[in-house]
């Protein structure tokens, strides 16, 4: 993902630039001690460790930031925030980067964006996760036949263990609507 493309996309989104500036400001006092990378359970799978991610953020290397999988693999377990000697809000910063990536709808994260959106809509609608409908909605959104095919193996195994309930929605609408409105309001401020 080239730096210029990122800059272009951000040009007309002042809210996202402000969002990123806030992340950068929060990370300013990072002393590069490596505790976050050491304590992150998913660090092994990330192409760029959290410590390197914060370095890139501070160096305004948005090209590196948005070409890495790091914030997508962050499982928000908050261990890094607990251990950071500087008391920096590391997990919230990762979430912020994730939101900016979704908002920019970068095609690099196309699949993750659609999965997260499908997941959120599913919960908003039913107040709980309905796996089959969630995956169906996700496969439709991805519009790429190969993706569902890749899940068939896992699907069969889950069905064998009665983890997948083939029936269609019968429960009434979920009651989490107001919670979502409130969250979106807060996001605007």
């Amino acid at each position: 993902m080239h730096l210029t493309d990122i800059r272009e996309k951000l040009a007309d989104r002042p809210d996202l630039t402000r969002h990123l500036a806030q992340v950068k400001e929060q990370m300013a006092t990072c002393i590069q001690c490596g505790t976050c990378s050491g304590s992150c359970p998913n660090a092994g799978f990330m192409d760029m460790t959290p410590r390197r991610m914060w370095r890139a953020v501070l160096a305004d290397r948005l090209d590196l930031v948005f070409s890495s999988q790091t914030f997508m693999l962050c499982a928000s377990c908050y261990v890094c925030t607990l251990r950071c000697p500087r008391g920096l809000p590391l997990t919230d910063a990762m979430a912020a980067l994730k939101q900016v990536a979704f908002a920019l709808d970068l095609d690099r994260f196309k699949r993750s964006t659609r999965f997260y959106r499908a997941f959120m809509d599913n919960i908003r609608q039913y107040g709980r996760v309905r796996e089959t409908e969630l995956m169906a909605r996700y496969f439709l959104a991805v519009k790429d036949p190969r993706v569902p095919m890749s899940y068939t193996g896992m699907g069969i195994k889950l069905m064998a263990k009665h983890k997948l309930h083939p029936h269609f929605p019968t429960l009434g609408p979920g009651r989490l609507g107001p919670l979502f409105e409130r969250a979106t309001q807060q996001q605007e401020q």
């Binding site: 590069q32 001690c33 990378s37 050491g38 304590s39 460790t49 410590r51």
Partner: protein, 957 residues
Amino acid sequence: MTDQIGRTLVIGGGISGIRASLDLAQSGFQVLLLEQSDRVGGLLSQLDTQFPTSTCGMCRMLPMMDRDHGDPQCLRRGLAHDNIEICVSTDLISLTGEPGNFTVSFIDQTDGGRQECPVLVVDDEKIVRDSMKEWLMEEGYPVQTAASAAKALELLETGDFKAMLTDIKMPGMDGVTLLTRAREIQPDLAVVMMTAYAAVDTAVEAMKQGALDYLVKPFDPDAVLLMVDRIYKDAVAKNARTDTVDAVILATGATFFHPDQGINAYGYGRIPGVVTNLEFERMLSHAGPGGMDLTHPVTGRPVTRIAWFQCVGSRDIQTGTPFCSSTCCMIAVKQSLLAKTMYPQVTEACVFYMDLRTWGKASDAYARQAETAGVRFVRARVHSLAPGSKETDGAIPVVWMDPSGERNQSLFDLVVLAPGQHPDAFLTGFVKDQELAADDWGFVRPEPFLPAHTSRPGIFACGSATGPKDIHDSVTGATAAALSAMQVMAGAGRHLVQNSEPAESPDQQAAGISLFPGALVIGGGIAGMTAALAIADQGFEVDLVEKTDQLGGNLVWLQNGIQGADDFLEQQMAAVQAHDRIRVHTRTCVAETTGRPGRWVTRLTPVADAGKITDAQILEQESGPSPEDRSARQSAGVPVRHGVVVLAVGGAEAGSDTDGLDQKSGIYTQQQFQLLLDGNDIDSGSPLQVALFQCHGSREPGREYCSRVCCPRSLDQALRLKTLNPDTRVVIFYRDMMTPGLTEADYTEARKKGVVFVPYEPGNAPNLAADDTGCQVTWTDPILGRAMEMDADYVVLAKGIRSSLSKDLARMFGADVDGSGFFDQADIKWRPVEAMDPRVLACGICLEPGSLALTLASARAAAAKAVSLLGRQTFFPGQDTARVRSAFCSLCQICIDACPFNARFIDPETRTLKVDPLACQGCGICAAACPSGAAVVAGRSLAPMMKTIHAALNTPL
């Protein structure tokens, strides 16, 4: 009556307390030394060796003169001096008054102390009762507990309690009613309410009904102890001993952070094999738990792999200690070096650090010594520890991420944590009672430009009470505090204990020497001026020699770089010029000196041409006048007679100015850039790109020391640039950011303002490609692992400090210059401002690189030493001073070569060998070297020793 003997109270018997007490006692004043614990020595008694050498040497703090007034013994066995009254296991009850008339009351803990203050703890929760009981018992208070108010009243009937701590919400009778009922039984009982957060208003209500105070759950041990402490002091105040003193020196030091507080990510106390560095110090010692072997504290097996974790409870906002505790890095370096050299079984010694802070003069070379001994230094912070399992055979697995992002794992038998330091309960209480100005973390804040002074006149502070310090800084600060106390006592008209003791015998009278009463201070910088003023204020004549034509030295170009330094400099220069006992000789240098130490006649000569001093001239000055030139100056010299000399010739930016820096491409040295900043010649309109390059030429072969001031200076410059224009991009290239102690706050502040810090290894420093348009800086970022480059408008090279002290000048007074060109101190830790001869002193940055605060401290310390020497009329030989039987002496000078303190010399007129009673330490080495028995030391020559040997071998048991 005002003319009694000057007496000072020193609180705290650790390293600083001992040093301050000995300085005052040696000068002839009396000292009252109070120590809370049961012995004098503080941390000292637990240390076999101290960095930056792997040797001990604390007994070198003992006085060099009048040794008959004290016990010549290892300080770990105790301190004894006629002028020091030592009270151990003593609690300070109260301190009131002003300089010259302080009233202090104190009590011995063991009799009439804490036993006299029984405490009753009333709470329905067992856990609260037990923990409170444990804390209070440990402090020596007798404690009883009661689960309910009824039980409490029952106990109150029979027992006689001084304090009661009671919960409010309890089944049956609540705390408030218990309060009223209790006060009926015992009206003078002090009651403290313990309340959960919600019930504070009821606690306040209780206070209206006579409760002394309230504590909020969850309790902090220190708060509880502070509360009970106050009650205890009021209770025993009546049978405490009171005394009046003229000045007070606070030297209570700091305590170590307990790693099990807070999140305890390293499982201290849970995981066997995780110890603190103080505990490991004891394990290393042969007098420690493991005896002669280094064994695992739990399994008892020999330890082979040791890891040191730095910054546990320092530089950590989570534990409320965002400052650096200054000494832990060097402790780790020493312990790792000792572990590798004392115990061959240790195969793996690994120090995990963020910045290895080796800022002392000899510290960096000592750290390199550890590296060559096989210690591995890894720049990483281990996030947490899991206990060892059966597979790892009990060894602790340590996982860390090195800068390149590689995940590393290794097994260690022992993990040594470096806990930070913070103020102890006593200091917090004392600061509150005496309303001393303290900084944000509870340390005493020294007055600007008066390192030992607190906000209360007459009360001085030194050592770690004013912020974590190493031995060198503590000892220098303690001597400076002693000077401040002397100034107060002089002001109050006090006199010395023994000013002019008569000689006991005629030949002792003949062998005595009296110093010329004046002092010669060479170098008119801020160090020289401060020392001159301090000596002159005590009533002695001072000759201040400055080779340029104006005073001020380096502070002249630096005054706008330090807040308030400009007025201070002006004030000092005015004071020096106006002082009637200071003769200022500008554009003058020392031609040569004659006479014995203490009776020097030094010839001062005007510097050759009348014009501005040329650089070449200064360089020539520094290397000393060439021989033929010296004779030319012989004639015009002004002879000065002085008994003490203070070398304060200062230093300059290292790296000669002519090493090809072309400022048109924006490359400046730190000093040049500071002048630009102060002269606001930096146009801050458009954002700039500035690169600050640390350790440029320092900490490398040829100059193996850290100049200690460049990192704080660069941070200050970076912050100035950011305030000028927040969008200016400032990048600091560093090896280790040396911001020890409380200066760590500037480092965090710089990061907050967006300054980028790029660490580099000595091997691949960033390279500068300068051309006339600007300078391009290229480097590989160690964390991103990518090549980066930057077109810098300004590149500032931190060249560090070099000393201007020439070998010739030092040798002229029998001192010398060390490997790095600075003044060769008698002992870098224990006698930091003196040469081997106590009459040759040094201060400022010709002694060691340091900040303005350290320069002022060393200047006042040097003045203290000078004053204590000049204050004595004559120095008579003690019982154990060497004597010479000239009839047998063939002047072979073997004894002169053998004497470690060059106390022996040949008197030119009489062609006989004489002993300088002030320098001679009575060790007897000369007596052993002399074949003919001409060198005699009482009790340590052939005849007495043969009697001793005969008695030893022939007396039946």
